[in-house]
């Protein structure tokens, strides 16, 4: 057997376990989900489920809320994390304790987190107690429009540390000579950040964006613990829609909503991949 063929077989065998795992747990279920979305109660309906879904008010409400949350939450998370990373990068050395402390919110269980947040932000919580003692009215943090603000706050608080660590590592990888040249040329700090740090940190930013998108799905845990199956309409996300349709055994809606959402995400990530490839300054 030729050396090349043997190498290729060996490579294929090494990839096979992971490939089989992805096939069995991701690709095949995705295809089955797609096929389920074309059926309703055992009868083939074609794209009728999708047409019904696109006319469904609850689905559009969920999509709108999810898009708003992802748009605002991810943007704020990346901006705040980057700014914090820039600040921390100005120090010569960040202690190990501080690095660990940044990761504590990520590892805290959601249920415990919510207990503490409720203690602080409930109608009769600590914050409202302080506001009342100062003669101010209570704020309904977990109802109405404020509920989505709180969810974004929880999301940023929980995931900021991890993104800061990513950005710090990314900033540390930028060669010092670029900054020296900029200093010698008289560039301001703002110009240094916008013309050197930001472009060169694109791969890290892309990875941080990917992680932020993944973490944005996980916020469903906090939303569910705080508000239950049927929350206020401002915090009714696509995951609530899918979860409730699973509980009410409506697999047509469940499957079609999952496929629509996955297509939306694939397109979004594809766009970002293309953008990242074209604007990779490190290469």
């Amino acid at each position: 057997m030729k050396y090349k063929t043997r190498t290729r077989i060996a490579a294929a065998l090494f990839i096979l376990p992971s490939f089989l795992g992805i096939l069995i747990f991701y690709i095949i279920p995705y295809i089955i989900c797609f096929l389920n979305s074309m059926y309703s109660g055992g009868d083939f309906t074609g794209v009728a489920n999708y047409a019904e879904l696109l006319e469904n008010n609850a689905f559009w409400l969920a999509m709108k809320n999810t898009a708003v949350f992802m748009g605002v939450g991810i943007t704020l998370l990346l901006v705040i994390s980057f700014l914090l990373a820039l600040f921390l990068n100005s120090f010569r050395k960040i202690s190990a304790f501080f690095r660990s402390a940044l990761l504590i919110p990520v590892i805290v269980p959601s249920a415990s987190l919510i207990c503490v947040w409720q203690l602080f932000f409930e109608d009769n919580g600590v914050i409202n107690g302080i506001l009342n003692s100062l003669g101010m009215d209570s704020v309904k943090f977990f109802s109405g429009g404020f509920s989505v603000v709180m969810i974004i706050f929880i999301y940023i608080w929980k995931n900021c540390g991890f993104c800061v660590i990513l950005f710090t590592a990314g900033l540390a990888n930028i060669p010092e000579q670029y900054y020296e040249s900029a200093r010698l040329d008289g560039a301001s700090k703002l110009k240094t950040v916008t013309r050197i740090s930001m472009p060169l940190i694109t791969p890290t930013a892309f990875f941080a964006f990917l992680m932020a998108v993944i973490y944005s799905f996980k916020i469903f845990r906090e939303v569910f613990v705080l508000f239950g199956d049927y929350p206020d309409e401002n915090v009714y996300f696509l995951q609530n829609f899918i979860n409730n349709n699973f509980k009410s055994l409506n697999f047509a809606h469940l499957s079609s909503a999952s496929i629509v959402f996955s297509v939306f995400l694939i397109l979004l990530l594809l766009l970002f991949f293309i953008f990242e490839r074209k604007r990779n300054f490190l290469e």
Binding site: I31, L35, N36, D43, N56, A58, S143
Partner: protein, 449 residues
């Protein structure tokens, strides 16, 4: 190499698609098996007793193959997860009872349940089920979009039994067959609510008891009346609903604790203006003392005479065991079972109900006429109270598939969507406005999902 790998991958995907699409082999295997019914540990489903009796009937008549297999799960969550995944794959339990906590209103549109009319059409035997022999208003509750998805077996009527002496004492309406609408109560009982008396309006307790309190049932029925499931709209923000909510709050403040022992007729003990009525003719006759007033209630409209299905059954669309389904249905709708359930032939089925079979209902009136009451007198059915009650039962013009007054029953909407919001409102955690806002939001999302 790449070509070989891609061919192998394509073949595996094709194989899994073909396997996923077909379920015929699984269905063919099931046709020879028993009907299945799911319960969980410590659950109480009203159909369970009936299935138990049916299994004994099958054993006695050497029809073991028709017996129903009852599968018990450790927890409710486990049962529903299994149900969900099985239904998704085109299988699942064959028999559903209405008090299982699944969203029937949504599932009717998802083709999960079998059309019983079509199953009955396949029956060529002499004892074919004739639905015209059964109470039409009740049976029509199970017909959705022209298809009979649910077969009601026994039902109850929404009535309240009043204490005649107390009603007269406080100059309140005491006419037999009076309609307790939300508007009537607000105007007619205003003085009673404003003054504090020793007596209570009806039963209420913050603790959840075996039967639940009348106030809970009234609140749920009020909410149900203001949801239009057909057009997916809610009317909670209307002045009418708000006023009715205020009225119910007054009722709650004037209502008293539940008795420790389960007694149906609190009116007999002269402490309650109203208690909920029993649901079989013979028990009503047995417990009358001459001090009772029967009223229709509570409703939005005076002309409405509502009932609810106490025990109802639906069948899985993917179940092909038509013979067994027919046999079970015939047993449930048979004269013998219907008469035993309403007490004509003793009551060993564990609950009191009106039978859907018209002839059994008429026989229950005859039996009630010769029943002794608790004072060992035969008051019969010619009393104003019994005549008004019989008239209400014969005039039912609307029927709900769910018994919202039962602790173990009620619709999926009240158990899983609005339940927590209602509890928070009752406990005072939510103000009226916040309650209406949250309820509107949750209900609209539920209706549209």
């Amino acid at each position: 190499m790449k070509r070989v790998l891609s061919l192998v991958l394509a073949f595996i995907i094709l194989l899994s698609c073909l396997y996923g699409c077909t379920g015929e082999n699984a269905e063919e295997q099931k046709s020879g098996e028993q009907l299945t019914y799911y319960i969980y540990k410590n659950s109480y489903y009203s159909l369970y007793d009936l299935i138990d009796k049916y299994n004994n009937y099958c054993k006695r008549n050497r029809k073991q193959e028709n017996m129903i297999e009852i599968t018990e799960f450790a927890t409710e969550d486990e049962m529903y997860t299994k149900m969900a995944t099985e239904i998704m794959s085109g299988s699942g339990q064959d028999i559903f009872s209405l008090d299982q906590n699944i969203p029937y209103e949504k599932l009717f549109k998802s083709n999960i349940f079998a059309d019983v009319n079509k199953i009955c059409e396949k029956d060529s035997s002499e004892d074919k089920i004739d639905f015209s022999k059964y109470n039409r208003a009740i049976m029509d509750a199970g017909v959705i979009d022209g298809k009979r998805y649910v077969v009601p077996l026994f039902y109850g009527v929404n009535t309240m039994t009043g204490n005649k002496e107390l009603l007269e004492k406080y100059n309140l309406p005491d006419k037999q067959g009076y309609s307790l609408t939300y508007k009537n109560i607000e105007s007619d009982f205003k003085n009673f609510f404003e003054k504090r008396y020793d007596e209570y309006f009806t039963e209420y307790s913050e603790d959840v008891s075996y039967y639940g309190s009348n106030y809970d049932a009234l609140l749920k029925n009020l909410i149900d009346d203001y949801i239009d499931y057909e057009n997916k709209t809610v009317m909670f923000d209307s002045d009418e609903f708000r006023n009715a909510l205020d009225m119910l709050e007054k009722i709650r403040k004037c209502s008293g604790p539940l008795w420790e022992e389960i007694t149906w007729n609190s009116a007999h003990y002269n402490t309650m203006l109203f208690s909920s009525g029993l649901d079989d003719m013979i028990s009503m006759a047995r417990n009358q003392t001459g001090n009772e007033v029967i009223m229709k209630g509570f409703t939005k409209d005076e002309s409405e005479i509502p009932a609810y299905v106490q025990i109802g059954v639906a069948f899985n669309q993917s179940s092909k065991k038509y013979d067994k389904i027919l046999d079970f249905l015939k047993y449930c709708l048979s004269e013998d079972t219907q008469e035993r359930m309403c007490g004509i032939k003793g009551n060993d089925l564990g609950s009191s109900s009106h039978p859907v079979l018209n002839s059994a209902f008429e026989k229950s009136i005859v039996k009630a006429a010769e029943t002794e009451n608790i004072m060992e007198e035969v008051m019969g059915v010619d009393t104003e109270f019994m005549q008004a009650y019989i008239k209400i039962c014969r005039s039912i013009n609307s029927c709900s598939l769910f018994n919202n007054s039962s602790l173990y029953g009620g619709s999926y909407y009240f158990n899983s969507v609005a339940g927590e919001i209602i509890e928070d409102y009752k406990s005072g955690e939510l103000s009226k406005d916040k309650f209406i806002r949250k309820l509107t939001s949750a209900t609209q999302i539920y209706l549209y999902e």
